[in-house]
């Protein structure tokens, strides 16, 4: 990306070509991310097919309320992202800064809730490792469930951390007036990344938290 907003990189012919290239590049990158998470989604799918009862049983030990709240938090953050881009499109620097800040804060809230959930899991000895304790007949496959839970949400959280970092950089750049109606491509492209991370969570939530709640013996969480 160019050093200053209106400067075209030397190898591009015009701004349209540059923006089109950047956008395609980000979408192609997101496809690689789909395949990256895909390996974990595959592992999850296989083991859920093989051990449906164990997965349902283990899933009930996750805090559905916190999971649902986190889903809402991420959806809010996606809204603040698109509104940040909109603010840049109409040249409103103040709104842009507020929405970028809101995005970062919502991201941090998400991570905070995640951290709390992880702390609970440690306390309950549901973390795969030498300390893993899971009473009942489903101990072995439950360990698989929790392994995948930590791997998938952990990888997702890592992507959140990176996203928050990116938006922090964008905030600083916006502060120094880098963006305008004529140039806001980094906001758009970072937004695409953020929305993708949101979409991953949109699938993680039902797949990890909402299995087996309908099975007998369970009241409202």
């Amino acid at each position: 990306m160019p050093e200053a907003p209106s400067v075209l990189a030397h190898h591009f012919d015009d701004v349209e070509q540059q923006r089109g290239a950047g956008t395609l590049g980000m979408w192609v990158f997101l496809v690689t991310e789909v395949m990256f998470f895909g390996g974990l989604f595959l592992s999850y799918t296989i083991y859920r097919v093989i051990y449906p009862d164990a997965f349902a049983d283990a899933s009930r030990h996750l805090d559905i309320t916190l999971g649902a709240v986190n889903t809402a938090v991420l959806i809010c953050s996606s809204l603040t992202v698109v509104l940040a881009v909109y603010s840049a499109q109409v040249g409103n620097r103040t709104l842009l800064l507020w929405f970028l800040l809101a995005t970062i804060l919502l991201g941090l809230v998400f991570l905070g809730i995640k951290f709390t959930e992880y702390a609970h899991k440690f306390a309950e000895h549901h973390v795969p490792g030498s300390d893993f304790v899971y009473p009942g007949p489903y101990a072995q496959p439950a360990k698989l469930f929790f392994s995948l839970y930590f791997a998938m949400t952990g990888l997702h959280a890592l992507h959140m951390v990176i996203g928050i970092g990116v938006f922090a950089v964008l905030f600083v750049q916006a502060w120094w007036n880098r963006f305008s109606p004529a140039y806001y491509t980094p906001l758009e492209l970072s937004g695409l990344y953020w929305h993708f991370v949101d979409i991953v969570w949109i699938f993680l939530f039902p797949l990890l938290y909402l299995i087996g709640l309908h099975l007998p013996g369970i009241g409202h969480g």
Binding site: G38, L79, V82, F203, H214
Partner: protein, 101 residues
């Protein structure tokens, strides 16, 4: 990329729909629909993902190439899932034939 600017109202409506769908999936999870619980949960998730992709990611106003890229990624994930899961699902089909299970 969307040169024309989408009004905030559209975004807020999509946002409201996403929250509503989240609530729906949460509630439906407690209702016993047997094997359809998974279907319902995934269908709602797909719906939410489509809303995010089409409106927040501006896919709706993106060039066809972007659609091909996005669709291609999902399709490739589908290949990975379909061909691997079909191995596990069909392993038991030869049970009863000597030596195979």
């Amino acid at each position: 990329m969307a040169e024309h600017i989408i009004p905030p109202k559209t975004y807020v409506l999509v946002f409201a729909a996403l929250l509503a769908l989240t609530y729906t999936t949460y509630v439906v999870a407690f209702i016993d629909l047997g094997p359809w619980n998974v279907v319902a949960a995934l269908a709602i998730a797909v719906g939410k993902a489509l809303l995010v992709a089409l409106f927040f990611m501006h896919l709706r106003h993106s060039p066809k190439l972007t659609w091909v890229v996005a669709g291609g990624g999902l399709f490739w994930l589908g290949i990975l899932l379909a061909l691997t899961v079909s191995d596990y699902l069909t392993r038991g089909w030869l049970a009863g034939v000597a030596g195979k299970s």
